[in-house]
């Protein structure tokens, strides 16, 4: 991208984008890199060392990191583009299913029925042969491509219809929710060929390495961390480009942007699709670490939870999304262990308190003095928010 190259040309521009010049980006990258290095070292310590981290913790943090990637993708469309997607878990789950399909194919003839061609659930449901949409998933590069393409295509098609017909605001949120709900129901169907309610599970290898070995877990953790970093830098560079400014402009005054002559629909579509791909990547990293993907991941609640991470962390700041995802999930792990009854109260109260009192989230609480307290304006179309002009 030209502004990246511009960075090295050293154009003396006061107002041009300075990707790594932004201190928050730099600092974020450094902290994340440090974590990626330090945490595996902690794992290598002897188990009785006070800083020792077991496989459980590594896997747990690795899972949080994939959530953080999902949060980034939600923030990209919600925080910067003003589209509240209640269906991002669908992209996450699709990425996860693609990875799950690859992992299923890796099992080969080591399934319980020992069938070299079909996954166990297909043997059991009397599938004669592998359905066409499973073809090619033996190959990792193909699967990797699909991790991006499948969610991306869905987002593209969905967004193309939705943005072209100016579905926005609340309406868009509701149909994204309907989309993920329809997918949830569809994936529950055993006829779909994705294992129904049980989903895909009992994975054994990834790229020939056993998923049960510690080193693979650490490897997955490191890859998740690096992916988070890469996605963060990608989003940051996108947002410092003029397209990023355009996104904020669309969020704040979509009509005005149209009158400036920008193809608002296409810009939205591009960013929405990119965001879906990032969510898909997150899902693909999530599955080998937790060991199962099932239709429950499509549940509307999951999408809303991802939105809440972003809201709590502070929408419209990338690091806020990451802080939100890590913080809420750490709290969830702790809470459901200590006070399982109280978890929903706490989560529910968080929603209310954050929207009422902290419209800019933790990030706003920490760094919000410079800006006006006024929250980011929505760009909604509910009948009553419309102003009647004289």
């Amino acid at each position: 991208m030209s502004h990246l190259t511009g960075l090295f040309k050293g154009t003396p521009s006061l107002h041009g984008p300075r990707l790594l010049g932004r201190r928050s980006t730099l600092l974020f990258s450094l902290i994340l890199l440090a974590a990626i290095i330090v945490i595996p070292i902690c794992h290598a310590l002897p188990p009785d060392h006070p800083f020792y981290l077991g496989t459980y913790s590594i896997t747990l943090i690795g899972k949080y990191l994939t959530y953080a990637i999902l949060a980034l993708s939600v923030d990209l469309v919600w925080g910067y583009l003003g589209i509240l997607s209640l269906g991002h878990a669908a992209f996450f789950a699709l990425g996860g299913y693609v990875m799950g399909m690859y992992l299923m194919r890796q099992i080969g003839d080591r399934g319980v029925y020992g069938n070299p061609d079909l996954p166990d659930f297909m043997v059991f449901l009397n599938w004669e042969s592998l359905p066409w949409y499973w073809w090619g998933f033996d190959a990792f590069p193909f699967a990797l491509m699909m991790v991006l393409l499948v969610p991306g295509t869905l987002a593209f098609v969905f967004g193309w219809f939705a943005f072209r017909s100016r579905v926005n605001g609340v309406y868009l949120s509701i149909i994204t929710q309907a989309m993920t709900y329809a997918l949830l129901l569809a994936f529950y169907r055993n006829e779909m060929g994705f294992g129904g309610n049980n989903g895909l599970t009992d994975f054994k290898d990834i790229l020939g390495f056993s998923l049960r070995s510690d080193s693979v877990r650490v490897g997955l953790f490191i890859i998740s961390g690096l992916s988070l970093l890469a996605c963060y830098l990608l989003c940051a560079s996108l947002l410092t480009s003029r397209l990023g400014k355009l996104a904020v402009a669309i969020r704040d005054a979509e009509d005005r942007t149209r009158f400036l002559g920008y193809p608002v629909d296409r810009a939205k579509l591009a960013i929405f699709t990119l965001s879906a791909m990032i969510a898909g990547l997150a899902g693909a990293l999530y599955v080998p670490q937790v060991g199962i993907i099932n239709p429950g991941e499509f549940a509307p609640l999951n999408s809303i939870e991802a939105v809440v991470w972003v809201a709590i962390g502070g929408r419209g700041t990338l690091y806020g999304a990451v802080i939100g995802a890590l913080g809420v999930n750490a709290a969830k792990t702790w809470f459901t262990g200590a006070y399982p009854e109280a978890w929903l109260f706490a989560l529910g109260a968080l929603f209310v308190v954050v929207t009422l009192l902290l419209p800019r989230g933790i990030a706003g609480l920490l760094f919000g003095r410079k800006k006006k307290a006024e929250p980011v304006r929505e760009n909604d179309t509910a009948a009553t928010t419309a102003q009647v002009r004289p």
Binding site: S24, I61, N126, D202, G291, G327, T336, W343, L366
Partner: protein, 439 residues
Amino acid sequence: MHMTTTTETKRSTAFGLASAAIIAGSLSSVAAHAQDDTIKIGVLHSLSGTMAISETTLKDTMLMLIDQQNANGGVLGKQLEAVVVDPASDWPLFAEKARELIEVEGVAVTFGAWTSVSRKSVLPVLEELNSPMFYPVQYEGEESSRNVYYTGAAPNQQAIPAVDYLARDLGVERWVLAGTDYVYPRTTNKILEAYLSAKGVASEDIMINYTPFGHSDWQSIVSEIQSFGSEGKKTAVVSTINGDANVPFYKELGNQGISAEDIPVVAFSVGEEELSGFDTSPLVGHLAAWNYFMSVESDVNDEFIDTWLDFIGDENRVTNDPMEAHYIGFNMWVKAVEKAGTVDADAVADAIIGVSVPNLTGGYSTMMPNHHITKPVLIGEIQDDGQFEIVWETSGLVAGDAWSDYLDSSKNLIASWRAPLSCGNYDVTTGVCSGQNLE
């Protein structure tokens, strides 16, 4: 966005601190290791989310059993300590919490899971860390893991005897196999379909219907069942409908005027606990097949019920089949540990096969080499007080069959975790042991 440098620096510093705090926070969840003077027992049942309805009771059952055992001096001279976690009806969370129990808490054994998918989620973790789990719910079979003990019913311990009863005692000739669309009903119905056709039931006399989870509008399906049942042959519904879909289903049956005498419904997932959420008066006479009913008349059951009502402090609570499964499983584990003299997973695994403990119906249940247990099969009719009247039971105990003989995919498979076979899915025709025990 343009910030002055000072703000930017402050911002960055604060951000750094925040992230560090969060990472540190997530690490601090790693707890200390197990103390030596107690034996830890993991309880892995959802206490929140959709499955909390069923699973909370099992958590309480385990706490009661552990209390009782401790009052009787514990095991191997040590007290037992329950470690309860909440996987919140979230399937990936089951695997995570199982790892926490075994790796971080160092539990000797886990009692838990309800749905098949939660068991499937936990399975790889159990096998990786070689830790035993007792699974207390009736399930679809087609599985036998080195680390799982299946104390609920396999299909041959519930579905097949129920169908036998309907065909023989009620003269049923036409069958509706209605289920929720997931693996347990799919498997059970496949097994039943094969079993029925082996018994000479024509395929037009079998109707199979699947509905989504929580299906609430049963008008069309019940009407279809009614017309299917009006062909002059005695018709019955074999229901593997799950959870919340049952209430609207039975209500619709009642509303469309289908009584148990016209078209009896035999359910495999409706027990006392579920009935307590129903108005049972329109359901009287419909059936359920289980290995235990609260209404079983035996001294050991009376005692169990009294202890339970005492423990939970509510006269109106009920007992049910999965609770009995935990009762049996827990006692088997205790007996095996005492036999082995250690809680070591491998030693217990060797010791537990063949262990017999009393079940609540007055007999004994034995752990078979395929990690399933022997149980009687009971058929009960729903009464208006939410209890079951036992109308039939097997003359002896039925051993759980991990691999159904009625499915093409599994009829050649057997499981035995006894040396020298030590295999969960051994193909008797090819002599190959495939599957999960291959590393």
